[in-house]
């Protein structure tokens, strides 16, 4: 089963900013360790939502707007793709993500299997 592990941060980013350089390095180390964990097949950190462009096509015309599709306080800050046996394994991986304990939240979504 494949899961998209979505990292929602906002508070967690400001809390991260408040950490010392050493602590920041340790947190980044944790993220890299998760990237290299068995079953993690991909992942990335996203630029902030203010850099987003939203695209629609109406009558064949491409319409773009500045900003994210959903204006929410908690923004998607990054993700991992995770191949695991079951939801318990995915929850355990999610719980290891620093944002989860720094005021953010992790949303675990199964991918449609084809």
């Amino acid at each position: 089963m494949q899961y998209l592990i979505q990292i929602y941060s906002n508070d967690s980013m400001s809390r991260y900013e408040g950490l010392s350089e050493e602590e920041k390095e340790a947190v980044m180390g944790e993220y890299f360790a998760i990237s290299g964990a068995p079953g993690v097949t991909g992942g990335a950190q996203l630029q902030p939502p203010t850099t987003a462009t939203t695209v629609r096509v109406e009558d064949g015309r491409t319409l773009t707007t500045d900003g994210p599709f959903l204006e929410t306080k908690e923004a998607l800050g990054g993700y991992y793709l995770y191949e695991a046996d079951d939801l318990d394994a995915a929850i355990e991986l999610a719980a290891r993500i620093p944002a989860a304990r720094l005021g953010g939240a992790i949303e675990v979504r199964p991918l449609v299997e084809r």
Binding site: M1, A84, D85, D86, L87, D88, I91, V108, P110
Partner: protein, 281 residues
């Protein structure tokens, strides 16, 4: 630019509102169609074998499911209640309950919620979740729905049978049996009767004995009489406060109450403050 921007805005806003109401109506109508088909789907049940009950209850009570879904699934899958019966017990329309069950089942499948007894490092939390669901069902039946209380006691009994080395299971079973044994004495002429004023002849004494036996079983010190095999699997872990602690907190006083010596209903409040809402009626 329209000639009268103010009026134009109001008209636009009104039209939008009408659109939205229409859309919501359509959505409601379509949802109803959806509910019917989901209810039909709910009729398809896979057979469950007796020796898989434990795996089943841990799946039904998985914390990734909403609490009300956990309760409904447990009653459905282990209690053998029909969807309409569960709906009636929780005062929701049958299609709502059917939908709740179908959604939960879909999530179990789509998100791969495992069908297994949780590994030791997850077991304490997961067992607590299972016990919470059973206790919730019991409480739902506490002041009226005797059938739900019976269901909960039956589930507790099954759990004790399936997990004979888990003190908390016996704690919950004892709690439920002891409280339920006073059911007949708790109400007189439509009025609640306090513990100390209850007619003890109305207590269900075999059930009191059952509750005491379960309590004693739950109080066996860790590992004292457990087989080596079971000790290595589930029992070696830190005890967490729970239902058992609440009951066991005042064993001498509880005994007094049970044998009829101590009459003060207040004796249990200490335990109640600490952890569980012990019912004093």
């Amino acid at each position: 630019m329209p000639a009268d921007p103010g009026r134009w805005l109001v008209a636009t806003a009104r039209n939008r509102a009408i659109d939205r109401i229409r859309r919501e109506r359509t959505l409601a109508a379509k949802s109803k169609l959806l509910e019917v088909s989901e209810a039909v789907e709910d009729e398809i049940e896979e057979p469950v074998f007796g020796d898989e009950r434990l795996e089943l209850i841990f799946t039904c009570c998985h914390p990734a499911l909403a609490m009300d879904a956990q309760v409904a699934l447990t009653l459905r899958a282990l209690g053998g209640l029909r969807t309409d019966e569960i709906a009636r017990a929780f005062l929701v329309p049958e299609p709502t309950m059917a939908q709740r069950l179908v959604r939960a089942k879909r999530k179990i499948k789509a998100a791969a919620i495992p069908f297994r007894i949780p590994p030791p490092h997850l077991l304490p939390d997961r067992l607590a979740a299972v016990l919470a669901v059973v206790y919730l069902i019991f409480n739902e039946g506490y002041d009226g729905r005797a059938d739900l209380a019976e269901q909960a006691i039956r589930l507790g009994g099954s759990l004790a049978e399936l997990m004979p080395d888990e003190p908390e299971v016996y704690g919950l079973l004892a709690l439920m049996l002891l409280h339920d044994s006073r059911r007949a004495a708790r109400v007189r002429n439509g009025e609640l009767v306090l513990f100390k004023d209850q007619d003890r002849a109305l207590w269900d004494w075999p059930q009191v004995q059952g509750g005491r036996a379960a309590l004693e079983r739950g109080l066996i010190p860790s590992g004292a009489s457990w087989s080596a095999a079971s000790r290595s699997s589930t029992s070696r872990r830190s005890r967490r406060p729970g239902a058992l602690v609440a009951v066991a907190a005042a064993p001498p006083r509880l005994d007094e109450q049970i044998v009829g010596a101590g009459d003060d209903a207040q004796v249990l409040t200490g335990a109640a403050d600490r952890q569980q809402p012990l019912n004093l009626l």
